[in-house]
Subunit: 327 residues, 2 copies
C-alpha cells in the first residue's frame, strides 16, 4: 500500500489521535498540527496536541491555537492509540518523552535529517514545509478543507519558506498556497499577524542585537548575539528572537549568518546559509541538526566561547566551498 494511503487508513480507524510537535514550535509545526486536529475533530475523533513550549504570541491568531498544550513530563500526556509526530526530526525534539511513544506512531516531517523514529515515516525532504505534506495528505484523503484548516496550512508553508523567500520555496509551495487561498486563507491577514504583531520590546531587542553585528571571512560570515540580560532589559523571551538571524543574512556578500542566543544552559546557535555552505553539516558536527540552509545546535558554553568555537568552523567550511576543493 502507498505510504499516504497507509497513513490515511490509520487516521481513519483511530478513535483518537495524539499529536506531538517539536519544542520551540514554529508556524509549520503549529499550523500542521492544528490543520490535522481540526480535520480529525470534524470526523468525530478526539485529539490532543502537545509541545514542550507554548505557542508564540504571533501564532495566537491561528484558529484553535489553544489546543496546543505545554507539557514537561510524559505523565501529563494523554496517549490515544494513534500518535502523530509533526515536523520533528528526532525524539530529542520532543523532550517530554522518555522513549518512543506507545501505540502506533506516524512520523510526518520534511527534515532530511529525520531519523525515521515512527512506525510509519511520511518523510518528504523535498517538501518546503511539513504543512505541504499534510496538505497533500488531506487532498488524497478527500476530506473537507475548511477556511480554518486552509489558514493553518497556509501559515505553515508561508512561514517555513520565510514568506516564499528561502531556497526551499518551490512551484509546489506556491501551488499549494494558491489552492489554500481558494479554500479561504487570506494572505494579507496571515502576513500581518505573523510579521506585524511584534511587541515594542522585540523591536528594542532587535536594536540591541544589531548593535553586536560582527563579520568574518571578508564579509562572508556575519552574526549577532542576544544575551539573557538583553532579554531581561527589554522584557522579551526566546520567541522574540525567531527572525533575528535573517538580518545578518540580508547583508550583501554574506554566505552564512548566525544568531548566538544565551540560554539557561548555555548557548543556542542558529545557522542560515545562502546555499553554498551546508550548515546542517556544521550543526551536526556540534551535536545539532537541520537543513542545508537552516540549522541549529545547543552548546554548553559561554557566549564568547561559543562564538570562538563555531565561527572558525564556519570560516573553514566557507573557504572550502569557495576554493571548490570540497565536494
Amino acid at each position: 500500500m502507498d505510504l499516504y494511503q497507509a497513513v490515511i487508513s490509520e487516521l481513519e480507524k483511530a478513535p483518537g489521535v495524539t499529536i506531538l510537535i517539536h519544542k520551540s514550535p514554529d508556524g509549520d509545526a503549529i499550523g500542521s498540527a492544528l490543520a490535522l486536529a481540526l480535520v480529525l475533530e470534524a470526523r468525530g475523533k478526539e485529539t490532543a496536541i502537545y509541545c514542550w513550549d507554548g505557542v508564540p504570541y504571533y501564532y495566537r491568531f491561528l484558529p484553535g491555537w489553544q489546543r496546543v498544550r505545554k507539557v514537561k513530563e510524559e505523565g501529563e500526556v494523554v496517549f490515544h492509540p494513534l500518535v502523530v509526530g509533526l515536523d520533528s526530526s528526532d525524539l530529542g525534539r520532543l523532550p517530554f518523552l522518555r522513549d518512543k511513544p506507545p501505540g502506533t506512531v506516524i512520523n510526518i516531517d520534511h527534515h532530511p535529517t529525520n531519523t525515521r523514529w515512527g512506525d510509519l515515516n511520511l518523510v518528504e525532504p523535498q517538501a518546503s514545509a511539513t504543512g505541504e505534506i499534510v496538505f497533500g495528505l488531506l487532498e488524497r484523503w478527500e476530506v473537507e478543507i475548511t477556511p480554518h484548516v486552509a489558514t493553518a496550512l497556509y501559515t505553515a508553508i508561508f512561514t517555513d519558506t520565510g514568506g516564499f523567500r528561502f531556497s526551499n520555496t518551490t512551484d509546489t509551495s506556491l501551488l499549494c498556497c494558491y489552492k489554500l487561498v481558494d479554500l479561504g486563507a487570506v494572505p494579507y491577514e496571515i502576513a500581518t499577524n505573523v510579521y506585524e504583531s511584534y511587541s515594542s520590546g522585540r523591536m528594542r531587542l532587535l536594536g540591541l542585537a544589531l548593535g553586536t553585528l560582527s563579520m568574518a571571512a571578508g564579509g562572508g560570515v556575519a552574526w549577532v548575539v542576544v544575551t539573557r540580560e538583553m532579554m531581561e532589559t527589554t522584557g522579551t523571551g526566546p520567541e522574540d528572537t525567531e527572525e533575528f538571524v535573517n538580518f545578518p543574512k540580508s547583508i550583501r556578500g554574506v554566505e552564512v549568518a548566525l544568531l548566538f542566543r544565551e540560554t539557561e544552559e548555555g548557548v543556542k546557535v542558529s545557522f542560515r546559509s545562502k546555499g553554498r555552505v551546508d550548515v546542517a553539516a556544521i550543526a551536526a558536527s556540534l551535536g545539532g541538526g537541520g537543513h542545508k540552509a537552516a540549522a541549529g545546535c545547543d552548546l554548553d558554553l559561554s557566549l564568547d566561547a561559543a562564538v570562538e568555537r563555531v565561527i572558525p568552523l564556519v570560516e573553514e567550511a566557507l573557504s572550502c566551498c569557495l576554493s571548490s576543493t570540497c565536494s
Copy 2:
C-alpha cells in the same frame, strides 16, 4: 474584438515598440517592461524602454535591466509607431512627455486611478500588479515565456504584493507565480536580490535607529529617529533608511508609525498608517503630501522640535478616529 486580442494584434503588426514606465520605477514597472521587451525582441521587433529615473541597484539583477534608458527630455525618446505605457496611472508619471505620445498608444496598468490616457486601455484594477496583466497577455498571445521573461514577471508580482504580504495578494497572484516558477523563475534568487542586498552599515544604522524607539497614545503611535551622526558613524546615506519606518509599524497595536531623519536643512518625516488615520492630511498640514497610508514632509526644525511639533498632531488625529467623531 476582445481588448487583449486588440492589444496582441497591435503588438503583432508593429515593427518596433517604445515602452514607457513611471518615474521612481519599482519592480512591477521594470519587470513588466523587460518581460514585454524580451518577448518583442524574440519576435524580431525593435524595442526601447524609457524612464525618468534610473534602475535602483537592487533591480540590476534583472535580465536586460540596462535596456531601461533614463530620459529627462521628450526629444531624447525614439518613438516607434506603437507606444506602450506600463504601470503608469497618468501622464504626470512620465514627466519627460510634453503630451500624449505620438502613434498608437497602449496603456497597461492596474491602478484604479488610471486616467485611461491611451488609445487602448488595458486597465485591470483587480490585478495585484501590472506584471500579472502582462503575463495574462503573453499567455493569451501564446508566445514563448523564457526563464528571463519569467524572472522579470515574477519580480513584478512579488515586489508589488510586498512579497505576497500586502492586501492586494490574491489567489491569482500566487497562481501566476506558480506558473512563472515552472517557467524558470527562481523565488529564492529573486527574493535574495531584492531583499537581501543590504550593506552591513545599513544593519548597524537600523540597530541605532531601533534604539530610539518611542511610543505615544497608549501604544497607537511609534517612531524612530535617525541622526546625521548615526549615518556618519555607520557610513550610510538617506537611501539606507528607506524601509525603517516599517519597523515601528510592525508593532502590534500601532496605528501610525513615523521616521524622523535629520537632513542638512532640518528633518524629513515619513508617516505610515495601518488604515484608520489619514496621514496624508497630517503631512499636508505641515507642507508635505502623499497617500492616506504613506506620506511625508520636510520641516525646518531640529530633531527634538520636529518630534514635539508632529507627535501631538498624530495623537490628535488618532484620538479623533478612535472616538469616531471624525468622518
